[in-house]
Symmetry: C2
Subunit: 458 residues, 2 copies
Amino acid sequence: MKTRNKLLSYVDKNMPNLLSDLQKLIHQPSISATNEGIDECAILVSKMLKKSGIESEILSLGKNIAPVVYGEVKSKKNPNKTLLFYNHYDVQPVEPLELWEHSPFSGKIVGNKIFGRGASDDKGELITRIKAVESHLKIHGDVPCNIKFIIEGEEENGSQHIDQYLKKFKKKFSCDAVIWEFGYIDTKNRPIVGLGMKGLLYVELSVKESVRDVHSSFAVIIKNPAWRLIDALKTLRSSDGKILINGWHDDVLPLTKNDLDILKKEPFNSNDFKKEYGVKDFVGGKNNLEAKKALVSGPTCNIAGIDSGYTGDGAKTVLPSKARVKIDFRLVPNMDPKKQATLLRKHLKNNGFNDIEITILNAEAAARISPNESIVKVTCESAKEIFGDYVLNLSNAGTGPMHSFVHALNAPCISIGSSYIFCGMHSPNEFAKIDLLKKTTKCICVLLENFSRSKNKN
Amino acid sequence: MKTRNKLLSYVDKNMPNLLSDLQKLIHQPSISATNEGIDECAILVSKMLKKSGIESEILSLGKNIAPVVYGEVKSKKNPNKTLLFYNHYDVQPVEPLELWEHSPFSGKIVGNKIFGRGASDDKGELITRIKAVESHLKIHGDVPCNIKFIIEGEEENGSQHIDQYLKKFKKKFSCDAVIWEFGYIDTKNRPIVGLGMKGLLYVELSVKESVRDVHSSFAVIIKNPAWRLIDALKTLRSSDGKILINGWHDDVLPLTKNDLDILKKEPFNSNDFKKEYGVKDFVGGKNNLEAKKALVSGPTCNIAGIDSGYTGDGAKTVLPSKARVKIDFRLVPNMDPKKQATLLRKHLKNNGFNDIEITILNAEAAARISPNESIVKVTCESAKEIFGDYVLNLSNAGTGPMHSFVHALNAPCISIGSSYIFCGMHSPNEFAKIDLLKKTTKCICVLLENFSRSKNKN
């Protein structure tokens, strides 16, 4: 216990360095959507790893593909167990700029918060991992197990090449478990230990009716693509949110008794959500338990965007030539995105909508690990030790390339992190809470020790 | 006949002046949507009237209201009959600029065409009226009847103050008939003599579900305003174009035998339309006669624009906070826009869509004059004399403030003009055909004489 105390007090003392390093990362733009500062940020991250005692190299698949920063520390005392950290150095775009109170690249500290794009997602999370490893190296001159880092630069742009990287560098990346790139902390300061991510099928449907926009007086005879699209959309989903595509739910597995036990224990305050987003009730009038079930295991059919014709202010009498909608379908484990896309195609065809063009923009399968994996116990124990409590969550409602990791590396992935649940991720005024950065760094320190002592299966 | 020949050959000789004056008008931007050049154009038009021997003054209702250019010539030989020309000096916006082959304000002449915003709509039409009156003054030192001009500056922005102008200057504007601001010429060079315009109810429907855009992973529980709007829209209209709003058609009058006779005689080549706009078939599979009927007397429910969420390229997983649609309903005679708006409100309420906000952006009643008005015979005879043929049309499918004129001035309005039916009105590369400008000027010359000799009722 004495060495653990030394380790944790090193984290305390090292906080000014953690914060100044996080500021350096925030200062460096790294927007994957526009490629701004991507290469520069990869170099910065690689140098930062080295400064903390982690060997690092920059992996590349060629031009126009963001590099992956790789990091590695071999353990002297336990060279047979390897933990891999998956993170990303890229961030979301910063627009709308006028809504930021401080520059998005300022890293300004106000009280317990550090502001900036990436402060939480994912530069804040990354720094907790780096500083945890550094702490071990400083105090013990060693790490409790082998450590690997995969830090990619396209996460905010769909992780389009992570599969290729995982395939090409499969041996280099081999490991026994993966710590996922982020983890939420709820409003009661409990880390949410996540066992999975939903999948995603993102499509664009478009219809064209005439070669150009037409004076709307001709709407009596010339077809309107917006109406056509609406007719098609109305066949996809009922008013209370049920997906009506034939066979859509065929592969959905029911929650097991074990799953339900975890789900029931998970706290969920629907009022937090309703207050945060200013909504009165949930889709289909869902109550607390139904909402929790839906977040963990409910497929969605969400209109992410729709546009046709004149969308400025005031009146313009135009009959649009084309209409377009973007739909994201969240998928749950055992749903194959390709198969679901085929079902969508068939559905539209069978309903007479052959004229609707379908473009698939993203397709990722869901991933969910068994709660019996030893990494789950390790993570929960570590969280409990540092935070006093934790929440076990069957699956995050969002999507990430977790399936690719589980599939390629044959290793369980688990989410644990420092991101306050309403931290403005992807939005203006993103921040990280400094006390949570510190606790998470400590939690990762402890997790490394607990992991090194664990069996591979519970 | 000798003086008529002199009159018409003056028009021939005067064409270079007509074209250079039209170019001057085109050079002067006058975009009512942005107020660019409105006052300057009013002054230019007023000067041009005076140069042609027409007395002119600029009428104003105050700041932020475009002035009306008024023009008048008293007839010495026939001071008891008055014909009023209604035109407008404002134009549509010129965007998208990159699609124009010549600058929109160039007035460039290429062969038989003069290009530029307003070349047809409505600066080209206006110049034919001015030059016809000028021709009479030059040849006869008199006009066949009193002439008045109302040239407004807000037509392309919904003619929002024309009612007020008509009310305030009712006495000044009093007349026996109105020549409407435009008239189409079909692909066989026949002027279309129009007896009416449809009405319009233009509304914006909007829904808000949450205080801000939300990560789309929450779509399982947080309502999507785009879906909500689509659910509401689907209750308004059937897939084959029928309006489903309760009572919507209650006030629609059936076409009389007389109407149908006119309609049947009207040539209509559905292939012209299909080719021009690149469409295969018409709404609801309408054939030629049905399409003609619909254009003249079919109410519409057109989506002029819809938008919600992310509408850029690529994928963004967002759950929008609000959605908005713009709908223009074309109305036919005897439908009261206010009553129709009430029916829409009731319909949405009765279908449970109390949360949908309705904003009325424009409301104009339809107008249609009797084919027995003497101005109809006068116009048709004049068109026949100059063009060799004409087409009688019960109603244009579009909308203008004709109802306001008929109502305020108690005078019949008729459409006759020079605009080639596919002249790119409201679009890039708008043009007028020079031969049609000349013929229309001659037609107006003759019309003035025929009108002066006509009785007020057939």
